[in-house]
Structures are given as C-alpha cells and as structure tokens.
C-alpha cells in the first residue's frame, strides 16, 4: 500500500513552470468569451492597460517570492499572519476559489452543450470533467506542476489557426477604426475590470510556492508568462473584430469557438468539435489544480494541515466541489439572469483577489521586517 502523498515535495521547479502556470491560468474560460464583451476596436488599449496592471501585481508577487517565507510553505504564512488569521484568510480564499471553479466549469459546460452535445444531460457534462480532474489531481502536486508543460504544448498552437483570418481577406484595416477611443463610458470601465479579472489566476501561485522556486529571477519568468497571455488576448480580440466587425461581434456568445466554425477541412466537417476539447485541456488542468488547492485550503481551515493528507478526505472534498457545481447549475445557472450573477461575482472576486493577495503579502513582509 503506497502512502497517499499528494503534497509531497522532492525537488524544486524552476522559472519555466512558473511562466507556463501564469500563462495557462490566465487563459482559462474568460479568454474564450472576452471579445464579445470588449467589442470596440479601441479596447485593444484596454488589454494593454490590464496587462500593465497585471504586471504590477506580478512585480509585488515577485517581491514575496524573493523573500524567505515562500519556501517554508504553510509555516511561512503562519509566521507572517499568525495561525488564526491564516485560517480566516484561507476560508475567504476557499469561497473565491469555489466561485471560480463554478464559473469556469459551468462556462465550459455551456460551450460543450452549445457546440458538441446539445441534448446531453448537463449533470454528465459536469460529472465527467470533475471526475477527470479529480483523477489527475490524485497524482499529486508535483506531477501536476510538470503536467503544465503538456497542457501548454497541447493548446498554445490553436492561436496560430486564427492567423488564417488575417490573410483570408475578411476585413480591412478600417475594421479596426476607430482605434483611439473617441469617448470613454462607464461600460468601458466595466470591460477594463472584466479584463483585469480574467487576467487573475497567478495569485494562486502563492499556494504553490513551496514547490515552485523561481527565486533567482521570479519576475522575469512571470513577466514572460504575462506577456504571452496579453499577446494571446490581443490576437484573439483583433481577429474577432476583423472577422465579425463590432456590431456583429456583440451578438455572439462564444466568439473564439464560433470563429473556428468557419474553418473547412476536407476530412471532417465540424472543426469546432475538434477544437473545443483542445481548449478543454487547460480547463481540466486548471480544475485539477484548483481541486488540490481547495483540499489544501480545507485542511488549513480545519486545522489539519500538520497531519498527513488522507485520501478519503480528498475524495470527499472533490465530491463536495462537484456537488456545489451541480447545485449552482441546477438552481441559479439556468434562471432568467443566466450566468450573470455568478459571472459578475467571479469578475469582482477575481479582480479583488488578484489585486489584494500580492499587496497583502508584501505589506505583511514589510511589517514583519520592521517589527
């Protein structure tokens, strides 16, 4: 009988892993729908602005990574905040994490239902990814961190497909006019918030700190990851604007997936059915990572972090998360407001979390250093 050791740590993982993690965590779900919310060509600058803000956060985060606390794992946090405060913070984090899991899972469920299995029972569509993510998460944190390389290589190339639209004569440079905003409304501020929120995700690296060790150049690698994300957002958004034009784009629910419907292959008809599961790879990856983090968070809140992890407890955690997703789907997703409550909640929580976590850590380090 092998001992259950999902949180075992045998070696350090360097900057490359941090870079890929930053990139893939920022691409989950919102990247696929965001062009339909940005719509106006001048929002390209909003992508840049959100990227700069995100970079600022990564800079703060790197300050924390460079300190001596991250390698101590939970002990580092206890040193910084004290045990009770840490449990309180972890509880807040768990809520944010649960909302994030619910929104991305149900978002992808919607995509699968719209494009691949329109008549399939939604519970199956939630159960299958959850079981798969649970299975992957059981391999432990180390395997999962290594797995990000595969997740990245499997999915990054999709972006190249979209370059086709730039050369297929679908639009002209005038589709991108007005490129400078003639006016700036409240809706545009909302889009900026949405963008910043969808760039959130790297703050969860804080929980992976004992394994990741980008101590030599933490900022460099994370910046490369962030820059790659910004480029991907830019390509996706600019392509969508050129392909659809602003007014048409605002009527489309999943623009990035819908664009793949235009591809034609002599072998099979529905390219989108092939591309959607590929997008799912990093969704499943993120989901399994979040499941592990959820388990870790629950252990801290329940004050069990010092004991070895128990497999049954992990499975129960997965079951609870799956049940939460299913309940959210059953009771509040399909209602009239559809998506909005959860999505708005996630936009707020994601943005707040991404802004607060690095700041909080840096402030805590400063206070500790002074004391």
């Amino acid at each position: 009988m092998t001992p259950f050791s999902i949180f075992r740590r045998t070696t350090d993982y360097g900057g490359l892993y941090a870079m890929l993690l930053v990139n893939r965590l920022q691409m989950v779900y919102f990247a696929l729908v965001i062009p339909a919310y940005l719509v106006q060509p001048y929002m390209i600058w909003a992508i840049f602005a959100a990227g700069v803000l995100s970079q600022l956060n990564l800079w703060l985060l790197s300050k924390w990574f460079a300190s001596r606390y991250p390698e101590q794992g939970r002990g580092g946090f206890v040193n910084l905040f004290g045990g009770t405060t840490l449990r309180f913070l972890a509880a807040i984090g768990l809520v944010a994490l649960t909302v994030k899991i619910i929104v991305i899972t149900l978002g992808y469920t919607d995509i699968i239902q719209q494009f691949i299995f329109p008549t399939m029972n939604r519970t199956w569509l939630i159960l299958f990814p959850a079981a798969l993510a649970c299975f992957i998460a059981m391999h432990g944190m180390e395997s999962l961190i290594r797995f990000v390389v595969i997740a990245f290589l499997c999915t990054f190339w999709i972006l190249i497909l979209f370059l086709y639209f730039w050369f297929a004569g679908h639009g002209s440079i005038r589709d991108l006019y007005p490129i400078l905003p003639p006016s700036w409304s409240a809706g545009d501020w909302n889009s900026l918030l949405l963008l910043f929120s969808s760039l959130s995700g790297p703050e969860y690296l804080v929980c992976l700190a004992p394994w990741l060790n980008p101590r030599r150049h933490p900022l460099k690698y994370m910046s490369i990851g962030n820059t790659m994300t910004i480029l991907e957002y830019l390509v996706l958004f600019a392509t969508a604007v050129i392909f659809y034009g602003p007014r048409y784009l605002s009527t489309i629910r999943f623009p990035v997936v819908d664009m793949t419907r235009y591809f034609q292959s002599p072998i099979f008809e529905r390219i989108d059915i092939f591309v959607v599961p590929i997008h799912m790879i990093y969704f499943i990856y993120a989901l399994s990572l979040f499941l592990l983090l959820f388990f870790g968070g629950v252990r801290i809140v329940a004050n069990r972090a010092n004991r070895p992890p128990v497999r049954t407890a992990f499975l129960v955690c997965c079951a609870i998360v799956t049940a939460a997703i299913a309940c959210a789907d059953e009771w509040s997703w399909e209602s009239k407001v559809r998506l909005n409550i959860w999505q708005d909640l996630q936009i707020g929580l994601g943005a707040a979390g991404y802004a607060v976590v690095p700041l909080l850590l840096v402030v805590a380090i400063r206070r500790k250093g002074r004391a």
Binding site: M1, N121, P178, P182, S183, F243, Y262, R270
Partner: protein
C-alpha cells in the same frame, strides 16, 4: 481505508469501464444516434413564398446514394418546421450538417430574409460557409425537368459555387452565410448576393442583387455586373465582352482608388484597368496606332458612363454594397451613424475616371 485505496488505484480502469458501460448500454447520456443508412444529409434548400404567408421549402433526396432522386416540397410557417415535416414524410432522417447552398426566391428576398438567415446562422450544425443565392423564376420546375438528365444536380451546383469562390475566379458574385451576416451587421455597407434566373431548361447567372440590410432592393443586369465585379473586392474578369464596340477584353484586372472629400460631399473613384483585346469584329484597323487609340477612348468613356450609372443606381436606392461608407472612418474620431451616412451618400457628387490600358495581341505601328 484499505478499500478506498484499492478503489482509487483502479480509478482509471473504473472510469474507462464506466464510460464503456454508459456508451454501450441503453442508459446513455446522448439521445442522438446516427446510423449512416438512416440519414439524409441534404445539400441544398430552396425557399420560396408559399400561399398565405407560408414558406415553401424544397430539396432533393436522396442526396448521395444511387437511388432515383425526387424533389420534396413542403409549405410551412417556420423553417425548422420544414426539417421536422420532411422527417415525417421521408424514410431517412434529415441532417443539416452537409447543407451547402440556400436558394431564396426573389419575392421572398424583397420582403426580408433576416429571420431565415438568423435561424441558419445560430445553428451550430450548419456551416458558416453555406452559399446563399437569390433565384428569379421557378427553381422547382427547373429541378423537376433536370432530374432525369442530371442526377447529381445538387452536387454539381455546389461545385459551381465552390469553383468561383476559390481563388477569386471573378466571374460571379459568390457570398457565404458569414459574409452576408457581417455585411448585414456592418456599420454602413449592405450585403450582396448573386441572382440567378431559373426556368424549365436553364439556370442562368443574372448579376448581383443589392440588399438594404436584409431586404432585396435592386439588382444589376449582366453588363453592369461586370463593372461591379471590377469595382468590388474581386477586381478581376476573365472576359469582358462589349458588343457595342465589337470588342472582347480578356484577362482584365482592376485597381480601384477611392477618395472621399473631407466634408463627404464628393467621391472620386479612379479605376485602372489592364487587359488585352481578345476579340475584335468591328471595322477599325487595329494594327494602326491612331485607330487603336480611338477605340480605346470610345471604350473608356463608355466604361466611365457605365460605372457612373452603377454608382448612381446605388445612390438612388440608398444602398452601399461597395463599403464606401467605411471611407468615412478615421482612427480617432467618432463614427457617424448610418442614417447620416445614407443622407450624405444620396447627395454625393461622383467623379469617375477610368484609366484603360488594353493591348491587342499583335504588333501595332504608326503607319500600316
């Protein structure tokens, strides 16, 4: 505890077996099942106005199997009611995944086809590359009379559209679902569709039909359509017969330069045409430079007149299929709205210039 450990060790196997069980048993999550012999993936739909505000939908079945073909027609209120109706009438199940061509009758197009196109657009099964065309006359009668002579009629039609779509062959206007929708939703411009004339014996390309949003308002004749091909984004014609001057110009390429004045009151268009005289049956001696020059001048002014007439007809109807409105867009200023643009477009002064550069395929000299 031990139990759970064993269970998780075999989890991948259980997951796999579970999926297999789910897949093969009656308890499957997917209520759809496709068996090849039971399907009818149709290639085209033709939609006409029926009696009493209904839609008359027809298609040809079976699509690809070697069986005698027949034309099915239904009168329905809703488009998808047709899908259901055909299923009830025909032994195979109707599938839209291979739908390639949608033919819309002229009378229906004049009333607006937005709702029909939207239905097709949002259906994930239907390709965005579905070809659209407007048909004058009775297409069903054409199909009925051709069924015996040409059994692969539907497929042949699809190949024709495909041929002219690819590599800008530049003889016909070819538009697919996505391009149509993009224009419908665009800021200023309006969509174009090819228009065909169908009767018992023939199915002939007539020209381009101009839409105002989703409603057909005008169409070009065959002669003006050639100018439209040169002005719109294809910019190429293999043959341009001009019977009036006994000439056929071949391999014609155009380069169009639009210029809109700052106050949007005047539009200048310069079309540089380059081609060769492929046929001449008139009385001039084209070996002589002066005579060739005279012919060139005549054709040039005729082309200018044609272009002007084409643009003026667009102004009259208040449509903008050439995306001229996009010229008003500036990088940093707020775009004007559509109504304002239409007002300006109707009143705009036109300034058309053609630079014709045609060569005969013979040697030309000063004296002959």
């Amino acid at each position: 505890m031990l139990e759970v450990v064993r269970a998780t060790k075999w989890l991948p196997l259980f997951l796999f077996l579970g999926s297999v069980c789910v897949a093969v048993s009656g308890c499957r999550p997917l209520p759809q099942k496709n068996t090849l012999e039971e399907l009818a993936p149709v290639i085209f739909w033709s939609i006409d106005e029926g009696t009493g505000g209904k839609l008359k939908i027809s298609t040809m079945v079976p699509p690809l199997i070697q069986e005698p073909k027949k034309l099915l027609t239904l009168q329905v209120d809703l488009l998808e009611q047709g899908t259901k109706g055909f299923n009830l009438r025909y032994d195979r199940e109707w599938k839209l995944g291979q739908l390639r061509i949608l033919l819309i009758s002229e009378s229906l197009a004049r009333k607006g086809i937005g709702s029909i196109i939207n239905t097709l657009m949002t259906n994930p099964e239907i390709s965005q590359r579905l070809f659209l065309a407007v048909v004058k006359g009775d297409f069903d009668r054409y199909v009925g009379s051709q069924l015996k002579e040409q059994s692969q009629l539907d497929y042949a039609l699809y190949r024709m559209f495909k041929h002219y779509e690819r590599k800008n062959q530049g003889e016909l206007t070819i538009v697919n679902l996505h391009q149509f929708m993009k224009k419908v939703y665009s800021r200023y411009s309006d969509p174009v569709l090819p228009i065909f004339q169908a009767d018992e014996a023939d199915f002939v390309y007539e020209g381009s039909a101009f839409f105002k949003r989703d409603r057909l308002v005008a169409n070009t004749d065959k002669s003006k359509d050639q100018m439209f091909q040169l002005l719109s984004n294809r910019h190429v014609l293999k043959l341009f017969p001009i019977p009036r001057y006994y000439t056929t110009i071949g391999q014609l390429r155009s380069k169009v330069r639009w210029k809109l004045s700052r106050d949007h009151s005047e539009l200048s268009v310069t079309v540089a045409l380059r081609g060769r005289i492929q046929e001449y049956r008139g009385a001039r001696n084209l070996y002589k430079r002066s005579e060739l020059g005279a012919l060139k001048k005549e054709i040039q002014s005729w082309l200018e007149q044609q272009t002007r007439a084409l643009l003026e007809s667009m102004q009259r109807e208040g449509v903008d299929p050439l995306q001229i409105g996009d010229l008003t867009l500036r990088p940093a200023s707020k775009p004007i709205d559509r109504e304002e643009w239409l007002q300006e477009w109707r009143k705009m002064r036109l300034n058309v210039r053609i630079d014709l550069n045609i060569q005969p395929l013979t040697k030309v000299s000063g004296e002959f």
